[in-house]
């Protein structure tokens, strides 16, 4: 189990929603304890991904639903926690990661009807690189729900320490291991 007091942690984009929707009482208790000690730390990129999501849903929604989507967006924005900017240090580290790993570690996602385009997959991969760079620069562990992608980023950083002087290792925490 991860001690909430050992935080703060950076939360990858999918983690907040995963935690908010979890039915696991131990996990709920963990998150509540974490929130009583620290704010949720996120990268500015997470805010971009999330708000783009709300904007796309809003655009696709019928008029009568728009108010509810807008209320959800406002609820999200009202409790952002600590947002780490993409500053010069993060930009440099992210660029090094992207140069080491130019292609996504995993295939585009999809369902039986819908698929993520290669362009979207590449954009999401680059966002993941920036989020990993943010955690590395902030020297905070990154909680994620995307092991394949972030483990490959961690591996690349470990194989090329000369590209990341005075930084690292990238500390990763899988969502599933928070209470186990």
């Amino acid at each position: 189990m991860v001690d909430p007091a050992s935080g703060p942690f950076i939360f990858d984009t999918s983690v907040e929603s995963w935690l908010a929707r979890s039915q696991d009482s131990a996990l709920k208790q963990w998150f509540q304890e974490y929130l009583s000690l620290h704010p949720v730390h996120v990268s500015a990129i997470t805010v971009t991904e999330r708000i783009r999501g709300y904007a796309v849903i809003l655009r696709r929604s019928r008029k009568q639903r728009r108010e509810a989507v807008e209320a959800a967006r406002t609820a999200y924005l009202s409790h952002l926690g600590y947002v780490w900017p993409v500053d010069a240090a993060v930009a440099v580290v992210a660029a090094e990661i992207m140069a080491l790993l130019p292609h996504p570690a995993t295939s585009p996602r999809g369902t039986h009807k819908l698929i993520e385009s290669r362009q979207e997959r590449l954009a999401r991969w680059r966002f993941d690189c920036i989020i990993a760079a943010t955690a590395l620069v902030a020297a905070l562990a990154l909680i994620h729900n995307n092991a394949a992608d972030f483990e490959s980023i961690r591996g690349a950083i470990e194989r090329s320490p000369e590209r990341f002087p005075k930084l690292g290792p990238l500390e990763l925490i899988r969502c599933g291991s928070l209470v186990n």
């Binding site: 929603s17 999501g53 959800a72 409790h79 993520e116 966002f127």
Partner: protein, 92 residues
């Protein structure tokens, strides 16, 4: 900003009715730490109020998160997590 400690704020005299057990425990701590009973009680109260405020804050955030992520389909939740799925036909 520096957090104001219980001992730093202005004092006000009041009368309280407290559980005898708690008072005995507090008196014992006061003797061990060589401070007054008032100091022990005010520190315990400040810690308790801080914990209460933290719990309130976490409940408020959890409630906002629930509101932020409820009422969406699985596909929409993926969108909120940064995954944009589209119909393959649409993209042609």
């Amino acid at each position: 900003m520096k957090r104001r400690r219980a001992n730093d704020s202005p004092k006000r005299r009041t009368t309280l009715t407290l559980p005898a057990d708690s008072l005995t425990q507090a008196a014992s701590i006061a003797r061990a730490k060589k401070v007054t009973l008032s100091t022990v009680i005010s520190e315990a109260l400040a810690n308790g109020l801080q914990a209460y405020a933290a719990t309130q804050r976490s409940e408020e955030i959890l409630s906002a998160y629930k509101k932020a992520f409820s009422g969406f389909s699985e596909e929409e939740l993926q969108l909120l997590d940064g995954v944009v799925l589209d119909s393959p036909r649409k993209r042609r």
